[in-house]
Symmetry: C2
């Protein structure tokens, strides 16, 4: 299959240079669960693991752990472990995640508009 490389695309279409890289953004906030998790942590504040689990319909323990770990690795979420039994772990949106508020508002407006 003949596909275009990044370099070719930019050479032939220099005007593409001012578009931001969607694949990179998708790596951070793409997938089935990340936007839901971020939305809750950003707008509803810090949550515990099982709290999130109960707030997100259909998410499994495995996926929630995976996604939270990925978000943590990308600096969008912090994880605070309390030395208690039974365990207590809190997840909080970082400033970088809070900066996504504008995007979430835009999405919300777009969804609510529902005219087009």
């Amino acid at each position: 299959m003949v596909t275009t490389s990044e370099a070719e695309a930019l050479e032939k279409h220099p005007e593409l240079a001012d578009l931001c890289p969607m694949p990179d953004i998708a790596k951070l906030i793409g997938g089935k669960w990340k936007l839901i998790i971020l939305q809750i942590l950003i707008f509803k504040g810090t949550k515990r693991f099982n709290e999130l689990r109960r707030m997100i319909p259909g998410v499994t323990q495995t996926m929630l752990t995976n996604q939270l770990r990925a978000l943590e690795a990308d600096g969008l979420v912090t994880r605070k472990i309390y030395a208690e039994v039974p365990p207590k772990v809190e997840y909080t949106a970082t400033q970088r995640a809070l900066d996504l508020e504008e995007m979430f508002h835009a999405m919300h407006n777009w969804w609510m508009r529902a005219d087009g």
Copy 2:
């Protein structure tokens, strides 16, 4: 696996009601290619099929067709066929897609910020 249903989540956490449904939004603009396609059609205007193909690094003909068809079905893109040989087909962002501009700007700002 015990997961929460939509109804349970809302009953236990009524404050979730004001969050917009990310899964529904993801159906429209999620996946590997849709955001790139929309970004180009919204900010760079109408494009022909092979033009898009050359502008999007790594996309295959198959995927580009699929995604454009899905976007068309969801009312985000219109398809105009010219009765010429060789074939000429133009893709244009609808108003509903143009309304996503705000979201793209927010993403762009977020990406450019790159501090947190």
